[in-house]
Symmetry: C3
Subunit: 447 residues, 3 copies
């Protein structure tokens, strides 16, 4: 089929020296920085035998590895298969979806181990890593995978690596502000991962606005089998989300509770998504876009509160609402964002991550503010919100206020950071494709 | 291609108000019932800190979460990806297979948490849930996924939701009779999940018999890639079946033993399936239908006995036999059932679940009847069959008799329940498609 | 398209009696041998209740099941979905890739439980099995899956079963020599699994050299969707490799450390693979073959050393190098091996397993030789290398020497074994296809 040739065709997408250079230089930088800073934490170090005696531990089972490794693997699957395959819905961009997600996440987890390590695991000049660091690195990269969803098909792998570098950095700063300065709870990352990641990505795609994108409109759709591949991503995200929200919660009841709340929220979300998907379409048929995405909003929306005493019915309510909001978003907001605000959001992350992330932050703030010693038990109350040390006197309502502040900080960080990073990505040196070659694997892959 | 138009074309498959109404009303009902009844169990409640002290537990590891959560996640994958993708083998029904399975399971687990909760976790007016409840809810829904296999491609999503509502209810009653009244062991559900689920589904499809189904014969087959998608489902079911059969067994040796027995049975099953698949075909070629399904019969057939001292070679024998029975079933029984008994069994659940389920119940009864204190050890014997309290004096042979009774009860419940529910589903108000539109995603999905 | 008919067309690929006979006879043999030899190990036996008291264990958590079962399941997925789908990249050999891998692995794990059991778990005339045996059986079969990669598309299922029988046997002998006689560490199997498996497979494919294979050149490529199916295999191998390398390490810090080292190595490997994939192609585009395979070399290359104090930056270095070596291998070595050495390596296992396996063996020898009590701690040092009993006085440098010897033994075993087994497979009785029918499912499958 002949397609009209535009000025865009002149764009240079030749990667041969640029991509290898970035990959290799950055990997060398990782090696040097890891060499200087990263060491095994006490539970992964061969000195653990002695450590055990000092800590008077009678069983190897007390090693954090056994508390968190199964959840880590589930989270790992969500990042690489979950996000990777969710984005294969485009008919001719499956390699880019899975492959670039693989690339950016593999780089991102290394950089996140460093950035988060400096903030949270730094001791005597060294970053001491254990399984919890691996989970947190995956979490951090999750926010980049989300942002990738907004610019899917429109950026070069180099742009993605550059974005990852900056976004991981900003994520870590924002996370530090929330967790350490505001002393906010956000184990499943409604604010740090979803709100921040989504609004960051939306800001970037706004800056990278492509007025002629309708030239590749025919490639923005799916085909039958690409929709089934995307369902692999959807289901793995959906099934493992209870692990995601509970992976770094406190040992014991908190992990247990997070998993139950998330399970309930996600189940409810499927029903309201199906309901609205059918209702908002004239012929009453279901739309795979909604099933692939909005069914997951329930996981996002309990990301902050899952480890709290949200209760199973509370989770059903939150999940139900977020499924509705997300589906409505796909039908009405996405076209609006594109036509009026020039925000071209390929995967609809505004509906799957941004709005549900905000809901999650708000629900978290309310749940925290509503906490009582009666509901949590005296000790459980202190443990749940870590009201110790300098936070000994913080009340639930104050905690709720700080939680709300966490949302605002995450939004600000996303808008400011996204604007700057978007500006950097706009430089004409990164090898992005012309509008008529977007959503097309042939540009960067041998097909 | 022009296809002849039949009276069936007049059928109203318009879902726009019916599906949303059912989904939303039922979800509201769930929220209300959860609000009234469902609370966190002690191990997921923030009071666990105090509970631990009372129970004198020294480690958070004693929380049931750590004994069962990895198995739960495997079971979760089996229900949503395993069953969902197993049914994508049809060339034009992949969305329906994965999507409707998703819908019915998401509703079913909520309703199962309530139904099973009232029977088994009810305390002081509340249902107290923990990770074991999540597993059991998934199990219960597993029986609905099985029944779905029989009617795949011939029912509307509303019919599936209605069937789920009733089947979960009947499942819970049957489970209560077996586990509590008959005091039967069935950790992997040969009887409660497979026998009940399959004969229920077969009865329903018999009631819903469609005389003109050959009109959509061309769509009942697979294409190359749909068979590969189905293999994703097959393999996840096959790999995680050891987790399925061990998920709710007693802590320690019983979980360990269940996994080993199931691993062995499934391995043997693959070899006999391949052998008979080749043998029963004139050209000696292998048939993907058998590989996708009959290889799993070994998991079904040790569902009752896996946690008993079946022994690895016993498992190999059971697995070998069930692979043969199942493959022979696909070649000879399925056509017979359709032509003579008017049982149209889309996925051949009679071969994968019904017959192996019966084998599983019988093997369980024999293994129980053959138990001795010598083989189990004095304490192990009591623990394995829970011969405590009012069952203190029950002998292995009596236990074997009760196990056998469990099969009969499950069958009766399936036939009676299936007949009634089939009758309800036959009402012309649920929006099922005409015969010539069966096995076709376009009816309910935007394609 | 008309293709020329060659003498090869006369080849008899009719499986109807041969395949069933082999499958059934061998399964009967397994049942007999299991009946004579295999019993539950103490932790899976119902006597465990008493055992616990004798061992003074206070918690069921001390059962090895809970230390290893999650890793076992991950390894299980790698063997069946990982290897199975990785090989579906061929456009018309998806059934053979997934299905034959399923068949050979299901047989292989049974035979491996026996062979490895006789060598390592034999007590009072019985093989006592537990979860670690299941993992080791999967590992052993992993080496067969690797060898399968070299001959993919060119052999009959009977040949694969025959190869499995012999290779599992040789694997077990080699493993015994390495672990018991040389007292070598190789938890992730760089030597026993990858080096042995790959060179064994390469030797077999050399013996089975087909001069006319270019006749099926058109079928040796991939199509768009088959590449996406292959990425499922790639990602599951990549994500779960930390579980693979840590699955049978000592409880506690060793398992923890193995997972971290592997995670790091694999992350680095992705970046160097992408870099070289782009660099070695004139247009600078990425090649899916490299992404699907070379990204995994990092897991292979830390298979021996992951449980040692390799350190995270050491892992990054090893991963980086192996990604480069592997990608360069695909571009330059594979064509060379085929044209000059007549080694037709369908999946390029020389690049993914052979060379990285050698690297892994060497890195392991160096890491062991460099070990000090300072780095490991006094007790950790002894525990890490099991310097107890007769090995009490072995020094790190001696250990390094034995590790190096392990590589040589594995290579010798592979070459000699591969030559003999290749010779057996060359007999004209196993039903392999003619050159022009290679890489074609229709030969053995109903399509």
């Amino acid at each position: 089929m002949e397609r009209p040739r535009h000025q865009g065709m002149a764009k240079n997408t030749y990667m041969r020296w640029r991509l290898p250079l970035v990959c290799l230089l950055w990997e060398v930088a990782m090696i040097v920085l890891f060499g200087v800073f990263v060491r095994f934490g006490p539970e992964a170090d061969a000195h653990w035998e002695e450590e055990k005696k000092e800590l008077n531990l009678t069983s190897d089972m007390e090693n954090d590895f056994y508390f968190r490794y199964p959840s880590f693997q589930d989270v790992h699957v969500m990042i690489f298969v979950g996000f990777g395959f969710l984005m294969t819905f485009l008919k001719r961009y499956g390699f880019g979806a899975v492959g670039f997600n693989f690339l950016l996440a593999a780089f991102g987890i290394q950089w996140a181990l460093l950035m988060q390590g400096w903030f949270h695991s730094f001791k005597n000049g060294k970053i001491l890593v254990g399984v919890e660091n691996l989970i947190n690195a995956d979490f951090c990269v999750g926010s980049v995978c989300i942002a990738f969803g907004a610019i899917l098909g429109k950026t070069s792998p180099i742009q993605l690596l550059v974005m990852t570098l900056f976004q991981v950095t900003l994520f870590s700063v924002n996370e530090y502000i929330l967790l350490n300065l505001l002393h906010v709870k956000d184990a499943g990352g409604s604010m740090t991962i979803h709100t921040f990641g989504a609004y960051f990505g939306l800001t970037v795609t706004r800056i990278l606005y492509r007025p002629n994108l309708e030239q590749s409109k025919d490639k923005q759709g799916s085909v039958y089998h690409s929709d089934l591949f995307a369902m692999i991503g959807t289901l793995y995200l959906w099934m493992y989300w209870p692990s995601f929200n509970s992976a770094i919660s406190e040992h014991g009841d908190a992990q247990h509770r997070s998993a139950i709340n998330t399970y309930c929220s996600l189940a409810a979300c499927v029903l309201t998504t199906m309901a609205f998907s059918s209702m908002l379409q004239k012929k009453g048929k279901l739309d795979m876009v909604h099933i692939q995405n909005a069914t997951l909003a329930g996981g996002v929306a309990v990301g902050t509160s899952a480890e709290m005493m949200l209760t199973p019915y509370g989770s059903l309510i939150v999940g139900s609402i977020s499924g509705i909001v997300s589906t409505v978003g796909y039908v009405y907001f996405t076209p609006f964002l594109e036509s009026r605000l020039h925000i071209q959001d390929t995967c609809g992350i505004h509906n799957l991550h941004a709005m549900p992330g905000l809901i999650g932050g708000i629900v978290g703030a309310i749940t925290a503010a509503a906490a009582t010693e009666d509901v949590y038990g005296k000790e459980g109350f202190i443990k749940a919100f870590d009201f110790t040390g300098e936070y000994q006197t913080r009340t639930p309502s104050v905690q709720g206020g700080f939680q709300a502040a966490g949302i605002v900080v995450s939004l600000l960080m996303a808008f400011v950071g996204g604007t700057i990073v978007g500006g950097i990505l706009k430089l004409p040196i990164w090898g992005d494709a012309a509008a008529e070659n977007c959503f097309e694997d042939e540009v960067y892959w041998e097909v």
